[in-house]
Symmetry: C2
Subunit: 685 residues, 2 copies
């Protein structure tokens, strides 16, 4: 860099970086000297065209300079040829060709930045700086000759050092085995996909192509759930999602929930290996599906970031999850893991592609929660945010700039519609939304597969194929909340009789009552009831969730939270109003409850696009304060206290139907006292 | 470390390191403070007993101190128990128990040193400092609890950091998968085999055992030759060889010599992979054999160092050796390689064990030559040494402290007995030594399998089983040299007729003559002849060898060498006298010719025992001056000039039979001029 003020002044936008460079300096070199982010795959040879810039001419009072016509050198032969062959957009120059001759303002368009910012389309407009671990580098390698008998790979390393300043490069054997043919085919010009380790700062060759490769590289952001595995196929250049696909986790045949899979492995020698094979096969299938769907050759997928709970984490890695099934729930390893695809048996993508698995927060709080933390950044929040990832185990994060706390809470599968009498997964035919008229106590509902309410014309047509088959997680939450609003259920969670509630839909069911939501038995279809046992299951689940939040609040020494974020695929479908009526989380104004969709998947995508984010979440996970519900002295107390429905407090004043609701209490049968019944419930389940 | 001179003075022998330590400091800690090499696997817990020391009492005028009785603390409970249970040798103390109370002299016996010196038994008494890459570490790991939910592996790393100051530890998935059970079985005490990367300074867990493991770890030093694969099973604690075994290289079925294997791979798609599989299978078999032979479970073999020529190197790694078969003979990679056993399909040893392959010097000068350089250290030689590794390709190293040069020379297989009319490998039945009476021109010989000469009583009995089947490499060299001494062959390499030589053993053979070494045809056995073509093949081979040496000497600007080292399994069997008569290498006094045995194997063993040696040879290989015979302007000239037999010069004056030998010249037939015949030889081969 030149210090002389007689040298031309160069100002780069949008970064605002400025400095004097010697006249004749190439724009690309000026950018490097001034630390400006200007891309180049070919190292400035005028072939990759990634370094396009837009010079601005005229008066720039803000910067205090005047840019004359001749501030940059004339178009040269390389630019002319490039324009002729491939077209250079109006006003654009190649940064590796144009030379700075006078004071100039140079704009670096977003597509010419390596670390371009990608604005996420979610409400809070989080920006992600593209900084993927894997990038392409085009180099020209010295030919071997008899006088300097070094290996081809050593000359590749020299070229990387000289042309990009990159050192500490390694290559797996499969790459060394392909290297010689590729170098000769490309006449000693080669493009390498290099993967940068974020901890060891080593570079690894993942793939290579003769000559200049201009196509994109691809990565996978995978949310490996107990029930479903979802993946985005992401362009590693700009972070855009090219395709998304999901597949059932085939481990379900070994057990619906995590603990039953751990049990399976304990009861069946080699059971963990069976489950490991199953999940790896599913990942291979998912990758094939993404390839078919997008038309992209899966071998171009050179990276994957996987987020998952600790049990999935261990089973994916081939580690028996035994210890995760019993206190103190010690994982075998909790730090992030980088491993080649081939070592996990992922053969459909690039076998040398690198898999990054986010760190585990605790034995019950997994890499998926770490991903949620990465996506939602509670540690950067000015106000106090509670993030609830609802699943068979709910993971909760509570925090602000000062401190972040995490715990998991054993909600059981009821909130996902499992272990509910008419429960089913969220699939066509499932009741997902419920309204009950507080006067007539008649219900109407929506079913997955139709946009209409059940009492609207055309509804029957919509569901011809699926029928009405059951009730899913969001449906049962709304049903219970609406039953409470309509006075069908009392504050203890008891369903009233037809007499007490004034509706014939309350039908006797043993010693208790059920509410008949839908009856198609006349046509041989199902009767969909909400039973007393269903209410109890939901009460247990929501109590666990609520108690977890209270525990974190106690630990942090606060009595309220400022906002609530519902995460998880399921969280996206929960009605905040109904969840709050049920008492699933502490009261906040309804407009302070937000669904973050699949935040774990978003976190995976962020980690895929940014090496810095990986380092960030590794640090964050270390400083998160883990609270263990199993040993917290007050958890049981909170749990029991949270059993009733609901806590009607201030934020609900605008919900007229609720506050005007007459408080009814049904006569409990001698055996139906909530506290006592709860203890017997497992046997009845 | 304490600076106060009122603190006790501790002097360690044999290192001579001394310093003051605070009274009450444990001897082990004092050793660490003063940088004294005192072993400890258990980190000073009094269980491994590796830190035994011998305090000395009394007057030490040399050191200027008096050691009183109470200089060390009394035996404590741990030492008493250890002595009771396992016996502590008289005068010994446990360094981790005994405390320094007064001035003391403490001897560290060799077996208590980590980096103990191992004196090689060869002539030059080279010492090797034990510094193996893989060592055992016993640690006590913190138990997990609900309040600190880190992974088991993270707590292992903390223990290594706290108890041994070791950081940057990684573990492969298979180790993570076994970790939890082993930790619990050992009640949170575990012994780890840690492998230290000599370049990246990372430690990798190769294996682990519950509690304290006291057994040794094992490594392999493997010389992977084109014809045979030889391996030593080495104790990684003291470098001793527990067992040695050899196996034929099964690649021989794809081609006897290297170039025919390269051709096989060129002509047969997938041929290189076949050869890769074959050599890996052979290594697995060899390891099994070593295990059977030694009674050591091969899974305890956690390391291997492999040396080999570049073609073997590529085929072992699964790289097509195509480029090594044509100029400029570029290897895919020339640097050293570290790779887990499993990645090379070595499944009989510990699959996570680390294989280290020495660097390649050039496309024709392999890791085997690097190993020879490591064993013989030409770069540390005060006088100028020529090291000749004889094989199908001969590798030559010429050097001293100033500079080391290397080349390979295409000798062809004749010196190994191949492409010789009665040639065979060195195996029972092969003639390996020859003497010809210079007066009667009658031969006598030795055969592998007998210690007697053929004219001694009992010889026939010795060889009853094998018979006399052919002539091996050392045998043909001696035969040709003796024929020259006896005047059967002239200086041009022509065999005389019976008339010219005065012996009926010279029999006509087409236009030339052969010498009948042995005739068993009367009993249906073989006639073993040395033919004119045999002489020519030996002449070609020795000329190439000699020309290579001359080339290196020219490059170095010298006209003589001070000493010659013959390396290679074959080199060990060559008679220096006969080799010099033949003119295989420049003349030096006979007592300056030494056989180094399998120097490549020795180099492999040194690299196995010393991480520092690995770094040393990597550096050495980079600075070795590689000379390429194929483009050296004078090589052809040297080659032609070296064709005659012999150069009888000063050093031979003491060999009376030679210098008094009448110089005879036989009439060459018109077609048998050496220069012209040589050119036609390939077609005749």
């Amino acid at each position: 860099m030149s210090d002389s003020t007689t040298d031309p002044l160069v100002i780069f936008t949008p970064s605002g970086k400025r400095g004097h460079v010697a006249a004749g300096t190439r724009v690309l070199d000026a950018a490097r000297q001034l630390g400006v982010d200007l891309d180049s795959v070919c190292g400035g040879r005028g072939i990759c065209s990634k370094c396009q810039v837009t010079p601005a001419y005229g008066e720039f009072p803000k910067h205090g300079i005047h840019v004359a016509e001749g501030a940059l050198s004339e178009w040269n032969r390389v630019e002319e040829r490039y324009d002729r062959v491939r077209g250079l957009r109006e006003g654009r120059r190649l940064g590796c060709q144009a030379e700075v001759l006078g004071d100039v303002v140079i704009d670096v368009p977003p597509e010419s930045q390596v670390h371009r910012q990608v604005v996420r389309k979610e409400a809070d407009k989080r920006t992600v700086h593209m900084d993927p671990a894997t990038r392409l580098f085009y180099i020209e390698v010295e030919e071997p000759d008899l006088a300097t008998p070094t290996g081809d790979f050593q000359r590749v390393k020299e070229a990387l050092h000289e042309q990009f300043g990159i050192d500490a490069v390694t290559a797996p054997l499969s790459i060394l085995g392909r290297l010689q043919k590729v170098l000769r085919k490309g006449e000693w010009k080669v493009t390498l996909a290099l993967h940068k380790g974020h901890r060891d700062h080593e570079w690894q060759v993942l793939d290579l192509w003769p000559g200049l490769r201009e196509e994109n590289l691809w990565g996978l952001a995978i949310d490996l759930g107990s029930t479903t595995i979802a993946a985005h196929l992401v362009n590693l250049r700009d972070g855009t999602v090219e395709a998304s696909a999901g597949i059932m986790n085939p481990q379900i045949r070994f057990g619906e929930d995590l603990m039953s899979r751990v049990s399976y492995s304990m009861m069946n020698p080699g059971g963990d290996q069976e489950m490991t094979r199953a999940v790896r096969q599913a990942l291979n299938q998912l990758i094939t599906n993404l390839g078919d769907q997008s038309g992209i050759d899966p071998v171009e997928i050179v990276e994957a970031v996987i987020v998952c709970n600790p049990v999935m984490h261990h089973l994916l890695l081939g580690i028996d999850p035994f210890e995760l099934g019993q206190a103190p729930f010690a994982p075998a390893t909790s730090e992030s893991i980088s491993v080649p695809m081939r070592e996990l048996g992922i053969t459909t993508a690039n076998p040398e592609g690198q898999i990054f698995i986010l760190p585990i927060i605790a034995g019950h709080v997994g890499a998926d929660s770490a991903a949620v933390a990465l996506a939602e950044e509670p540690g950067k929040s000015d106000d106090l945010v509670l993030i609830v990832d609802v699943g068979t185990n709910a993971e909760l994060l509570l925090g602000d700039r000062e401190q972040v706390l995490a715990c998991s809470s054993p909600t059981g599968p009821a909130l996902e519609g499992a272990q509910i009498s008419s429960g089913q997964r969220a699939a066509p035919g499932a009741i997902e939304r419920v309204e009950i008229d507080p006067v007539t106590r008649e219900p109407r509902f929506k079913v997955i597969g139709s946009d209409r309410w059940s009492d609207e014309p055309g509804f029957s047509m919509d569901i011809t194929h699926s029928g009405i088959t059951g009730i899913c997680g969001s449906g049962i939450i709304e049903a219970v909340a609406e039953m409470r609003i309509a006075g069908i259920v009392d504050r203890h969670g008891l369903i009233g009789s037809a007499e007490q509630t004034g509706t014939q839909r309350c039908v006797p069911d043993g010693r208790t009552h059920s509410y008949l939501l839908h009856d198609d038995s006349a046509n041989g279809g199902p009767r969909i009831l909400v039973t007393q046992a269903d209410i109890r299951a939901i009460q247990l689940a929501k109590s666990a969730l609520y108690a977890g939040a209270e525990l974190l609040m106690e630990e942090k020494g606060v009595d309220h939270v400022d906002r609530v974020v519902l995460a998880g695929a399921f969280g996206a479908h929960i009605s905040p109003k109904h969840a709050m009526i049920l008492g699933m989380f502490p009261d906040v104004p309804l407009d302070k409850v937000r669904s973050a969709g699949n935040a774990a998947g978003t976190g995976a995508r962020i980690a895929l696009c940014s090496v810095a984010a990986r380092a960030e979440i590794e640090h964050e996970v270390r400083v998160i304060n883990k609270v263990e519900t199993a040993i917290a002295p007050h958890f049981q107390e909170f749990f029991v206290g949270a059993n009733g429905i609901p806590h009607l407090t201030a934020p609900f004043e605008n919900l007229a139907t609720i506050v005007t609701l007459p408080e009814v209490a049904f006569n409990a049968s001698p055996h139906s006292h909530p506290r006592r019944r709860r203890k017997r419930e497992p046997a009845e389940g």
